[in-house]
Structure formats: structure tokens, C-alpha cells
Amino acid sequence: MFYREAGDFKTSYAKDSQTFPIKFDRWRYYLVLAVAFLVIPFIINDYWANAVFLPFLIYAIAAIGLNILTGYAGQVSLGTGGFMAVGAYATYKLTTAFPDINIAIHIFLAGGITAAVVTLFGLPSLRIKGFYLAVATLAAQFFLVWLFNKVSWFYNYSASGQINMPEREVFGVLVTGPNTQAWATYLFCLVFVVFAGVVARNMTRGSLGRRWMSIRDMDIAAEIIGVNPLTAKLSAFAISGFFVGISGALFFSVYLGAVEVGEAFGINKSFLVLFMIIIGGLGSIFGSFAGAAFMVLLPVLLKNVLVGGMGWDTALAAHLEFVIVGALIIIFLIAEPHGLAQLWRVAKEKLRLWPFPH
């Protein structure tokens, strides 16, 4: 009834191949963007920015990155935390070495550096597959965390071993450091998220995305029909690394401000992002957003209900969170292996006919 394509005629190739071919979808997309850019910045406060919006936006970028690698190209990675750390430390080194250059450029450069590192760790994927590869990415995770802990050049020889983000401005507005305002950091991250979403969406529905998916579905068959596994796999690693690097850079510079590598970018971060894409939906950009939102909101919600509402211990609530997250992962894998994105697709199919049965 509300959601249908009747009367929505495509009269050119450009219209036929646009990202959102259905008018209703398109308007919904514009509406979401309008609310995100024009409404939320005016009503956001520090609590909402720090507890919900910043982590959601930043994890969404990481989830898009991992989804490209795992959901689209089928290469399971357990090294996301370590790769995010590369982005964070690259930003730190760049911005302390060249303080006059705009921080946004540094973050993009950090993404590029991460892409190079991830590609390097992706090289074994040409020989090994499946969970062998997953374990190989664990090597990256542990090695990178160790490296950033031990080599003091990376944290500029500071005594604490931490990295601290100095204050940086974009267009005269502070976006990093302790004295930022909620709307500024929010908008800064939002721009990156929109960029990541648009780029990833268009890549994955183009020829590159098709090549990734053919590698995922069966790499030998893909090779036989003319997909080069070398370029397909390594491009997936590189592009995934680029997004994960940006996410790590934002996580450190805008969100946390000070980072101790083992704590912020440990193995748990890798699993968190992996859970996001499982729950959200493997092989779906919308799923990355949905999963990130879910995994960010769930602890906030549990904390508010259990600790705030019922006066429980924080430790107890944390344990219960583990149980719930683990159970949810299993339930999703059993009931809906394609995650929230698939639920959304099913809902859309239903809405097309509603309220008529056929």
C-alpha cells in the first residue's frame, strides 16, 4: 500500500541503475540524511553524543569495512581491533609530525596507511582459506598490539605509553581534544560515515563487488570464469582496511582522545565488530549500520535498566550482557543467518502488498 513501485517508471539507464530505484526508498534516504544533518546537531548533548551517536557512527564505519571483507569477499578477519589501532597510531604520528595540516586529511591518510598494512596481512589469503585465514588475522591482531606497546616511537616516547590527541580544528571549530562541543564531533564523524556508506554501497553493487561476491561464493569457480583472485582478494583487504583505519582514527582522535592500545584495540574489539556484522547482516551495507546500532545500544540499554533502574552491580550487568550477546549471536545464526538486514528485506516485501494478501 504505502510501499510500492507501481507508477514509478524508469525512462533512462541512469534512473534504472540508481542506488535506490524505488521512490519511497529514495525519499526515506533523503529524510534520514536531513534529520541526521539538520535536526540532530541542534538537539544533541554531551551524553547522547558520547554514549550513543559517536560510538554508533564510528563502529558503523568499522562494520562497513569488515563487512566488505567478510560479508562480501568472504575472508573472515579477527584482526579488526589491531587494524583500527593502525589507523589510530597513524593519525597520532601524522598529526604530531605535521600539526598544520588539516586533521581530516590526516584521517584519510591514516586510512591509506591502514589499507597498506591490512593488504600486507591479507597476502596469506592467497594461500590459505576459511578459519586458517581467521587465525592468520589473529596473528596480525596480537602482533600489532604488541608492536604499538613495545616500540616507543609510535607513542612519541611518552612515559605512560599512551597516545593523547592534541586539539585540532576544522574550519575554525574544535573537533578533537577535551574542549570540543557535541555537535561538532558528531557532524565531523557523520561526514565520514556518509562518505563511507556511499562509497561502499556503490563499490559493492558494481563490478568490484560482484567479483568479491564470486570469490566468496566459490573462489575456484570464480577463478575459472575469469576473476583474478589476487586483485579481488587484495582489493577487498585494502578497501576494508581503509574504512577500518578511518574508523580507528576517529575512535582515537574524536571519541576517546587518549588511548592505551591493549585496552582500546584488543581482541574484544575485533569480536565486537564481527558480532555487529553477524547480527546486522553479512553482505549488506544497511546491515552494518543496523548491527552497529544494535551493539552500541544494547549495553547502554542494559546499563540503564539494570544498573540505573534496578540498582544492580555494574559487574553483574556486564556478565549478563555477555550472556545476552552470546545468546543473541546463536539465535540469529539459527533463526536468521542474514541478520537484521534480512528482517528488513522481509518486512519490505510484506509492506509492498499490505494490506492485501496477494
Binding site: 573472515v76 596469506p124 594461500r127 590459505i128 576459511g130 578459519f131 586458517y132 581467521a134 587465525v135 592468520a136 589473529l138 596473528a139 596480537f142 602482533f143 598490539v145 604488541w146 606497546n149 613495545k150 616500540v151 566459490m218 575456484i220 569457480a221 575459472i224 581482541i267 569480536f271 564481527l274 553477524i278 534496578m310 540498582g311 544492580w312 552491580d313 559487574a315 553483574l316 556478565h319 549478563l320 550482557e321 555477555f322 550472556v323 545476552i324 550477546v325 552470546g326 545468546a327 543473541l328 549471536i329 546463536i330 545464526l333 539459527i334 543467518p337
Partner: protein, 332 residues
């Protein structure tokens, strides 16, 4: 012979002992992987959970005491009795069998015929669940596990060998616990091999590992075999949990040994019990020697965190199926 040379030997010996403990965890992985094709990431958490349960039963803790106190406002914590170690171990083994049944009944029965990577992710979910569940049940503080295994350096070996390297050398320092662990591991492997070779259930288990459908068609119950295999893996986890728990206390980091077992498996091959042992020994010796010769003097130490993975990674590039694994054949 200089003292340095003997220190090197001591490092190798300690590496061997650590390797035995890695192999213990890796064994549990191999058992499940062979019989059901599931790569069980939760093996380490199973070790943690079994150790927690063992300590909880021995000390007479009330399960979920923390949770109950929070909901009902009571202040219960202990039953006030102490259970002897042997009985507690038996009870814990019972809990592990129950757990195996639950895992099979509620999770993997619904995931039959899914891709291996989906099953792997399900075990990650299971690991998270059990981690939280164990903490909820027995709370998360670090506990001491004492089932009467001797600990501390073995003076006997130290005295025997102190004469070897001149005045600067004081004899090999080997923890008694490690020696016990090595002996237990050897016994466990012998039992497992004997079980799978000479008993009816063991043969059925191997048949399932070989070909699910053929096993099903000659009347072997897949459900039963899978519960059996998960129970066996639970026992192995219990042994590993006891050894590691006695060594470094029962705490969260115990579950991280699962991660250490991964490179062991990759070296040894996922489907080979001897491979798990050899892989464990290689990783144990390799990381201790690397730390001793290169890590500590040149790289600033703590290389044990990643060395095993790097070793496995380099090794896999040359031999993707591991040392003893079956050759990987792919068809379109």
C-alpha cells in the same frame, strides 16, 4: 659446556612442558572437529567454565548467588561445606556432560548442514555466552584451585643437574606441576587413542568422522555421537582447566589459552591427535626459545603473545594443511 648452553636446555625443557599444556587444549579442538566438522572456539571457555565449576563445587558456593542477592535482596554466598577434590571432579564431569547435551540439543542440531564458518561463529557466540554464564554462576573474582597437585620447583631434578655446568649453573628449574601435567596429558592421549580404536563407541565416532551419511545409514546415531564427542571435549577441557587453573589461578585469562591453541592446531593439522601434541610441543619450545634468544635481548620481550601465530602463519604458507592434516582437495 658453558652455563648458557644449559640455560638453553632448561628453556627448551620448560617450553616442552608449556607445549604439553597447549596440546591439552588443542586435543579438545581436534576431537570435535574430527567428528562434527565444527571448529569449536569455545574450547578455552569450556576449560575456564569447568575450572570455575570445580572450584565452586569444592568450596560449596551457591550458584547464581550474586544474581539471587541482587534480585531478592538476600545475602547468601556459601552452603558452608567443602567437597573433596575427587568427588568434585566427578560432579564437574557430570556438569560437562550436561553442557555437551545442551549444546548439541539447543544449538548445533539446528545448524546441521550450515557452512563451517557459520558454525565457527556460532561457537564464538557460545564462548561469549558461557563466559558470562560462568561468571554469573560462580562470580568473576580470581580463585585458587587446589586439588592436591604438587607445585613449585622440583628440588630433586635441580640437585641432580646442578653439577653439570660449573659454578654459575644451579641445575634445571622445572615446575613439578608441569611434570604432572605432562604425565596426565600422556595418559589422556593413550586413553583417547585406546577409546577410539578399541571400543564400539570409539569406532562409531571414527565412522562419523569419516562420512556422516554412511555412518547414519549403518545405524549409528549422529546425535548420540555428537553428544559423546562434546562430552569428551568437555573432559579434556576439565583436565586442561585443572592444570592451568592450578598453575595460574582460575580467572578470565584462562579462556585465552584457546587462542594459543589455534596456532598449535594449524601447525599440527586440524584432524590429527598426534598433530595436536607435536604442534603443541613445537609452539611451546619455539616461543620460549625465541623469547630467550631473540625476543628478550633484541625486541623488548613479551614476544610470546604473537610468536606462535607468526610461526603458524609462515608455516601455513608453505603447507596449508598443517604437519599431519589431510590434504585439502577442492572441487567446483
Amino acid at each position: 659446556m658453558t652455563a648458557d648452553f644449559y640455560y638453553g636446555i632448561e628453556v627448551v625443557l620448560n617450553g616442552l612442558m608449556a607445549g604439553v599444556l597447549y596440546a591439552l587444549v588443542a586435543l579438545g579442538f581436534v576431537l570435535i572437529f574430527k567428528a562434527s566438522g565444527i571448529f569449536n572456539y569455545a574450547q578455552g571457555v569450556m576449560a575456564l567454565f569447568s575450572a570455575l565449576t570445580l572450584v565452586g563445587i569444592m568450596n560449596g558456593q551457591i550458584p547464581f548467588a550474586h544474581l539471587i542477592n541482587s534480585i531478592f535482596g538476600t545475602h547468601i554466598h556459601h552452603f558452608g561445606w567443602h567437597v573433596p577434590a575427587v568427588l568434585a571432579i566427578l560432579l564437574t564431569a557430570g556438569v560437562m556432560v550436561l553442557l555437551a547435551w545442551c549444546v548439541q540439543r539447543f544449538i548445533f542440531r539446528h545448524l546441521v548442514n550450515q557452512e563451517p564458518i557459520i558454525l565457527f561463529m556460532a561457537t564464538i557466540g557460545l564462548a561469549y555466552f558461557m563466559e558470562g554464564f560462568g561468571d554469573l554462576m560462580w562470580n568473576s573474582e580470581i580463585k585458587k584451585l587446589d586439588v592436591g597437585i604438587p607445585q613449585g620447583g622440583s628440588f630433586w631434578i635441580e640437585d641432580m643437574t646442578s653439577g653439570l655446568g660449573g659454578d654459575a649453573f644451579y641445575g634445571f628449574f622445572i615446575d613439578q606441576l608441569d611434570i604432572v601435567a605432562a604425565i596426565v596429558a600422556i595418559i589422556l592421549v593413550i586413553i583417547l587413542v585406546a577409546f577410539s580404536q578399541y571400543t564400539k563407541q570409539g569406532r562409531a565416532m571414527r565412522a562419523v568422522a569419516d562420512d556422516h551419511q554412511a555412518a547414519l545409514s549403518v545405524g549409528i546415531s549422529l546425535n548420540f555421537i555428537w553428544v559423546l564427542v562434546w562430552s569428551l571435549a568437555g573432559f579434556v577441557a576439565l583436565v586442561a582447566g585443572i592444570m592451568w587453573g592450578a598453575k595460574s589461578g582460575v580467572q578470565f585469562s584462562l579462556s585465552l589459552i584457546a587462542l594459543k591453541a589455534l596456532p598449535v592446531l594449524m601447525l599440527g593439522g586440524f584432524t590429527s591427535i598426534p598433530g595436536a601434541i607435536v604442534g603443541g610441543l613445537i609452539v611451546g619450545v619455539g616461543e620460549k626459545l625465541f623469547e630467550f634468544l631473540i625476543g628478550a635481548p633484541f625486541l623488548g620481550g613479551a614476544t610470546e603473545n604473537w610468536f606462535a601465530y607468526m610461526l603458524a602463519l609462515v608455516f601455513l604458507v608453505f603447507r596449508p594443511q598443517g604437519l599431519f592434516g589431510e590434504k585439502i582437495i577442492e572441487r567446483v
